[in-house]
Amino acid sequence: MEPSELKRSKDSPNLDESTRRLSFPDEVLERVLSLLKSHRDRSSVSLVCKDWYNAERWSRTHVFIGNCYSVSPEIVARRFPKIRSVTLKGKPRFSDFNLVPENWGADIHAWLVVFAAKYPFLEELRLKRMAISDESLEFLAVSFPNFKALSLLSCDGFSTNGLAAIATHCKNLTELDIQENGIDDKGGSWLSCFPESFTSLEVLNFANLSSDINFDALERLVGRCKSMRVLKLNRSVSLEQLQRLLVNAPQLAELGTGSFSEELTFRQCVELESALSNCKNMHTLSGLWDAKGIYLPALYPVCTHLTFLNLSYAALRSDELAKLLAHCPRLKRLWVLDTVEDKGLEAVGMNCPLLEELRVFPADLFDEEIIHGVTEAGFVAVSFGCPRLHYVLYFCCQMTNAAVATIVQNCPDFTHFRLCIMNPGQPDHITNEPMDEAFGAVVKTCTKLQRLSVSGRLTDLTFEYIGRYAKNLETLSVAFAGSSDWGMQCVMGGCSKLRKLEIRDCPFGNAALLSGLEKYESMRSLWMSACNVTMNGCRLLAREMPRLNVEVMKEDGSDDSQADKVYVYRSIAGPRRDAPPSVLTL
């Protein structure tokens, strides 16, 4: 039955038994809706009518909360009684770059306490930019007997002791994924805490940690976890040890090697290559720390079916990359360091026609010698060879408007375009013009654009373009750009689908901030730091829009009237009560 029919039958004044019998029994509706996975679909479904709202909330098993302060754990638990999997994001993204005070908040503990009471059968917890202590990890480990998957990305506040608690108590653990966190690494003994009887692990990622682990314990663990498909080692694991692990785990689909640089005998190289060639399911390869070019041929057998190659910790030269990529025809995602230079990127264009995602990270920002890095030429070369490219993150030392225009002409399907010209406010290096036309070309040509990060010298014109053309834009990051309030006003007025806006060091003031008054409730959040916004502007915003939380982070000794860092987000939980003294809620 169509949703509209259902609604009509409910609203019809002639409602009688026969009409009501036409509606689905709740159980069937719930069953059908349980097949819906996307949160957005589920949100839409819940708005149809009360029955559907209820059916949806009873059938939902996974909840995604993009801002932990937008809602309270009690509200979540009240609405969704049957949750088994939770994804939570906490701090504003700029906390990754040290722009947010350390004790800002986003502590998971209050959530865990509610979950322990309301979701005792919780299985999965995925956290991003949350603060989590060892005590919380231990509480988690003992409170949920069915707990299966823990993923921590860019979190902080915990140490390897917390991991030991997880390993010790979570008898049904299938996933332990520790990525890029501010973890206090006290040693590798946590890994030895997995009991000998424990065999369920499918995903183990401890690449984040630096301490040595007990290799024997790891070898035994990998040996008995026959369903393991993702294994990402840390730097302390040697090539020789890697080979021993692979022999026992040919079923691996994703491998993060340890250090790839020690000296191997010829026989050891052959054995490594042989072990890798047995891994027929492997589609993702990462790690490769300090990779020495001479050992890369050991990877060739795996390269033929690789779809994701993460070389962002291996400082390869252009020739080394070229040789490797010649064996990777099916590559869809590639992350590299800019040590490969433009020549290396030419090789990408020549060898990887199926490429969809490219990320180029800077290798060393502090080298006193000549830095080469990548320029516009490399990006252009990739765009000619990889028409399917739709996701790019590119750190470069120079760019031109013409190059970007060519790039988007070759690759009009960009959904994520994140360009970082590393020198703030740098213009087109040939014409000395601002980079306005570059981003103008991006938004005009790439109609599917969802995420954009701009850089270089930019005037308000860039933002006029964005407001006028980027109709699907959801996330925008701006730094050291713009000329006046008008720039931000264009964005607030034009980008109807905007959800996240983060701005730093731009000349946008109160007028710009307040131009988005109507808009902020439809957005997840707004961040503005080192702009021209004042406390009065923020107070006005807070007063006009009571369902927004307006938080200001003040610096010691800064002018009382300046709002140094502003974070605005919608919330049905009201202002938060756990803010540290440096964060003012207006």
Partner: protein, 307 residues
Amino acid sequence: MQGGGGGSESGSLSTVSREDNMVVSSEDSSCPDESELELGLGLCLGGFKMHQVSRGGQFARILTAKDFPSAISASPSPSSSSSSSSSSSSSSLSRANVTAGTKRTADSVAAANSSSQVVGWPPIRAYRMNSMVNQAKNQTTEGFNSTMENHKSETSTVEKGTTGISSYHNSGNAKLRKSLFVKVNMDGIPIGRKVDMNAHESYEKLAKTLEDMFLKTTPNVNPAGSRALELGMMNKLTRSSKLLDGSSDFVLTYEDKEGDWMLVGDVPWKMFLCSVKRLRIMRTSEATGLAPRLHERNCQRQRSKHI
């Protein structure tokens, strides 16, 4: 309002109290040097400088590293209030350009190091920053420096089976120097910094960097403009200089691998690198029990160094 560029600004601020604007502008008119200074400290933020001018009234910004530079390139004239970028700013840009592939003079190297210390820029996660390997594959073995030893000692557990066919021993290979970033906090300043320990070869170099980061300002700085230090710390700090010799109001301490807070300088530099987890510039008055002996001990150390 600075120059004549404030016209559009005052119009756009009409929805909020004019007092805001007046407060800002009156501060500016009393501290013209400060706005000039902001421009002068732009380093490679040449384009940014022009934006600041065009904004009209200057404002109290969050101080970033560029406000405490160790070396500054000269600024273009700030008197123009036009928002269009002029050739003068572009030339200072290219002069101060730090990431182009050009050979650098000593000055610009210093500028490069401090400009790359703008807080949170480029936007790379701290984890990745710490993992960065400085490899200059084009370099010869002359690049092996003292920090290579550190790297070797850290990877000694990794290296096994060193006997091998000589063709695999490519000793003319990369210079490897990892960055070892540790947090530095200073009492009284809530936002900390990070410093690359491996970029320094000695305590003196480290102390100098930290002093540049936290204590010193250049002669051009108008103390009233340095917002973070406005509360009188400024005077105290510029008087003091050395963190190591006990003559400062502040003392440098570090947290070691066992979680204990120790005075920096007792052990050899390399040993220090292995055990340091983070640094704290502590008020001497809080380093209880150390203050009176500090000066003594440091004098002793300096004496023994000369032996």
